[in-house]
């Protein structure tokens, strides 16, 4: 595509860096903005910029937050003693959508996989241990995808947390959550959290 305007070209290029947006779609979005009053673009840019500059990672759970502590962690109506451990922020959203869980979360930011250069230190694990040590948590639910790396992560965490005053459970295995938690249908996912089972560590 050849543009008569460098300005248009710059904007198209910027849009096209977004996932799922090709140059054709990018051009459509840019032309749309061109045809709208300048205020629309201003609001659009302002929303993005202010989001990016001000978005935080919750000090407690690692979820996205506007304040140092996220809306979920600071909601006193939620069960503060029950924490669901997940891989990603998108897992939090998937579980929230089920409306079946009224506890808190802990976002690890991935699973342990030395092959991909991800060790325990690259994940939000120390904060989890501190939360567990504080005594305010009764139960940790490991809602981590049932891959080999997921199993390793759960096993590692449960060893780390041994002797701490928390109970560890996992969401039921046989549950078909087709690989990634975020793709699980809401009903099954919700039910699997309700019917979670105590985690049994392998003999050591």
């Amino acid at each position: 595509m050849n543009f008569s305007s460098k300005l248009i070209e710059g904007a198209v290029q910027a849009f096209a860096t977004l996932p799922g947006i090709g140059r054709k779609t990018a051009l459509r979005l840019v032309l749309h903005l061109v045809n709208k009053p300048v205020e629309v673009s201003e609001q659009f840019a302002e929303a993005i910029l202010s989001m990016r500059q001000n978005i935080k990672s919750c000090d407690v759970c690692g979820n996205l937050a506007d304040e140092p502590v996220c809306g979920i962690c600071s909601d006193t109506r939620r069960d503060q003693g029950l924490v669901c451990v997940v891989e990603s922020i998108r897992d939090v959203m998937a579980i929230e959508d089920t409306l079946q869980f009224r506890g808190l979360y802990h976002v690890l930011g991935g699973v342990i996989s030395p092959l991909e250069g991800i060790g325990p230190n690259d994940l939000n694990i120390d904060a989890l241990v501190r939360r567990a040590e504080s005594g305010s948590i009764r139960e940790l639910i490991m809602a981590i995808s049932p891959t080999i790396e997921g199993e390793t992560t759960i096993f590692y965490l449960s060893k780390l947390l041994r002797g701490k005053p928390v109970q560890i459970s996992t969401i039921a295995r046989g549950v078909a959550f087709g690989g990634e938690l975020e793709y699980a249908d809401e009903l099954t996912l919700g039910r699997s959290i309700v019917t979670r089972i105590p985690y049994k560590m392998q003999e050591d």
Partner: protein
Amino acid sequence: MFLNRLLLTQFKNYAFQDISLSPGFNCLFGHNGMGKTNLLDAVYFLCMTKSHFGLPDSSVIQWESEFMRLEGHFILQGKAEKIVAKVAPKKVKTLERQGVPYERLSDHIGLLPIVFIAPDDTELLTEGSETRRRFMDNTLSQLNPVYLRELLLYNRILLQRNALLRQMAESHKKNTALLDVYSEQLIKPGQYVFEQRKAFAAQFSEIFLDFYRIISNQAESAGIRYQSALSDHALDWLLRQNLDKDLALQRTSAGIHRDDLECLIEGMPVKKFASQGQRKSYLIALKLAQYELLRTSKGVSPILLLDDLFDKLDPQRTAQLLELLGGESFGQIFITDTQAARVSTLLPSLSKSYRLFEVQKGGIQLIAESPSN
């Protein structure tokens, strides 16, 4: 069990091919490089979800084509089974059974048992232990789906453990807790694979000896022996015992990934002490024993692929082997040969039906078939 009809689209050197096959012998004649072996590989692909030659999936697609597709119409215990394999670059390889894609390709292994005898099989006797572990794994995976799952699990955890050992050496930071987790995770699948291989070797070596006696016509004694560090110590013990060594070597030094299946003649390794002829007999006996074990355990005759087998066999042994293969315990057989006369003159005297094909530059033509077809 047999393959009734095979359709190839842009597979290796075939643009498009649709062939009807005999439930007995299917002989493919033609010069080298015309695509005889590729056709066998297509059959193998439909049964094992990948090329026999360990090629990456992208390289089974015809040169400059966008995708490849294989469609096999099998008859399994009287029932039609349509299997379709599709490979395209940057897309997930799919395998469909009766129009339904498998969620995991490994679930397909074992449905259609198959044995491939190829010229480069001599590696089994001359190369390192990996080739013989692959031979055991190939057989056991077709026999027992749990075996393949446990093996894949073991291999994945092993990769992670080795990656961790490397990182620990590079960063000079020890994470013994995570290393312990991997060690413990290896134990269950490792012990399982060991037990299965041990039982396999015991059963297999007896069948092998029977075939070796028939094929070699010789009095020397042959033997198969399974070698594993787990025979003497549990994997748990081995991993703990070798911890310092593993840290120094930056890899896991003991486990089922070091097993071997020793091949002996007169108590000596075949690799060092056998003649060419003895090796050939040994190999054929190994593969036919694999065939027989699959057949008796699964209750169906596997498909047998013989690539260029008769090339280095004298006429008497060719006749003898064909007679054996024409027997009741063998089902559908694919044979490739550069010379049509060698096999085709012998087939009419056998009771099995047959079809003869000529393979020319990626084109296959039926040239003759048994009257019963």
